[in-house]
């Protein structure tokens, strides 16, 4: 039965590609997407073995994988929104100070620059004024009289 071998092969390739994407990409969104790609490879393995054994255990595990992936994506995206509101960038290396001290990155000086941290004044959107500012206090006073 070489069919099982084929499916395991596709799952392994998807897993390896997801691992490469997780390590190389510097965008937080891309890293999460690559992790989801790895999960796809794993659930393909589970479904292939479920078909081989003729029972539903593998499919049940794959359903749990889908549930956990949904939780992971929700929490990760909420975290990314919170992180983006602080730094205005999705670059993973903007949060390098969260890691250990003194880790050598090892790229040999070829690292692309980290996006600059914007000053706090730029964090809130600036709207251009449209029209004159209505005088609310005077109108309220008129209504009371």
């Amino acid at each position: 039965m070489s069919e099982l071998h084929n499916y395991l092969l596709v799952g392994a390739v998807l897993f390896a590609l997801g691992a490469i994407g997780f390590v190389t990409r510097r965008n937080l969104i891309m890293m999460t997407l690559s992790a989801e790609l790895m999960l796809q490879g794993v659930s393909l393995n589970l479904v292939a073995f479920s078909y081989l054994h003729g029972n539903h255990q593998g499919q049940a595990f794959a359903v749990f994988i889908v549930a956990v992936a949904a939780c992971e994506a929700g929490v990760a995206l909420a975290l990314f929104v919170a992180l983006y509101q602080r730094r205005k960038t999705l670059d993973i290396r903007a949060w390098r100070e969260l890691g250990e001290e003194g880790l050598v990155s090892g790229t040999g000086g070829e690292e692309p620059p980290i996006a600059p941290v914007l000053p706090a004044a730029l964090e809130s959107p600036r709207l251009t004024p449209a029209g004159r500012v209505p005088d609310i206090s005077k109108r309220r006073a008129d209504n009371r009289v």
Binding site: E3, L14, N55, V81
Partner: protein
């Protein structure tokens, strides 16, 4: 016994030959759509007629294994190619869309392995819900025109790709067909082969450990695969506590996501 079960489990087999007419119909519709320069219409009409005739014929014919192999090749190749495009694309938006293609192809592979419920669930959850939230995040976070600077260059591409393909090579060596064949031949044969080699030579990576005997997870079920009923009995019978835990996990994750993403008004200093 097992042969009849496998025949029953072949959920996709009856519908496999219906794919060719669908393909022809797709070609016909695509050919006939309006364009700037009109393509010859009789070709499209002929394609559509062939699709209709093929559909009529295949409705009365049993499926063949050749179509399954073709479908497997198509889904596998498109999934792998889309995965490569996904991790190499510079724009996260296009990467998310390629991930949708990968997900749909994996769902096709699920269908070929008699898991229709799982295919539907992962199509809805991955390609529907998760990707939409990703696109919302991209819309919120990447409003600048063009590709961000941190997407232009990957970090350590050579070392990371080498690592990934070393992992892949190791996996492929472990999953050689002659090694998986012992496992695929069924628990009885694997047990026999495990009992046969006493000195440990010839033991494969995927063979059962001789001391433990066949795994309880490998007991062949007595219901056909591919039914939602069987999967539901497995989920709510064998894995009831796990289902409850998964529901609790979803609840906690949603509460946590709301609590994390809530924007507290910042005090002006």
């Amino acid at each position: 016994m097992t042969a009849t079960l496998l025949a029953q489990a072949d959920w996709f087999g009856g519908h496999a030959l219906a794919v060719l007419p669908v393909l022809l119909g797709f070609l016909a519709v695509w050919w006939l759509l309006p364009r700037a320069k009109v393509w010859p219409r009789p070709v499209g009409v002929l394609l559509g007629l062939a699709a209709l005739a093929g559909g009529g014929v295949t409705l009365f014919q049993p499926g063949a294994a050749v179509t399954q192999d073709l479908l497997f090749g198509f889904f596998a190749l498109v999934a792998i190619g889309s995965a490569v495009l996904m991790i190499t694309n510079r724009n996260p938006l296009y990467s998310a869309l390629w991930f949708v293609v990968v997900t749909l192809c994996v769902c096709g592979l699920f269908l070929l392995r008699s898991a229709p419920f799982l295919a539907a669930a992962s199509a809805i959850v991955y390609a529907g819900a998760i990707i939409v939230t990703f696109l919302f995040l991209i819309m919120l976070a990447q409003q600048a025109v063009g590709v961000a600077a941190y997407d232009q260059r990957a970090s350590q591409p050579l070392a990371a790709t080498l690592l990934g393909f070393l992992v892949l090579g190791g996996l492929l060596c472990a999953l050689r067909p002659e090694r998986t064949a012992v496992f695929a031949a069924g628990p009885a044969l694997a047990q026999a082969s495990a009992d046969a080699d006493t000195g440990g030579q010839g033991r494969t990576l995927l063979s059962y450990p001789p001391a433990l005997g066949p795994s309880p997870l490998s007991q062949r079920g007595n219901q056909p695969l591919g039914t939602v009923r069987g999967l539901g009995r497995s989920l709510f019978g064998d894995y009831l506590y796990a289902v409850e835990l998964a529901g609790t996990l979803l609840l906690v994750a949603s509460i946590g996501a709301i609590a994390i993403a809530l924007r507290t008004p910042r005090r002006k200093s």
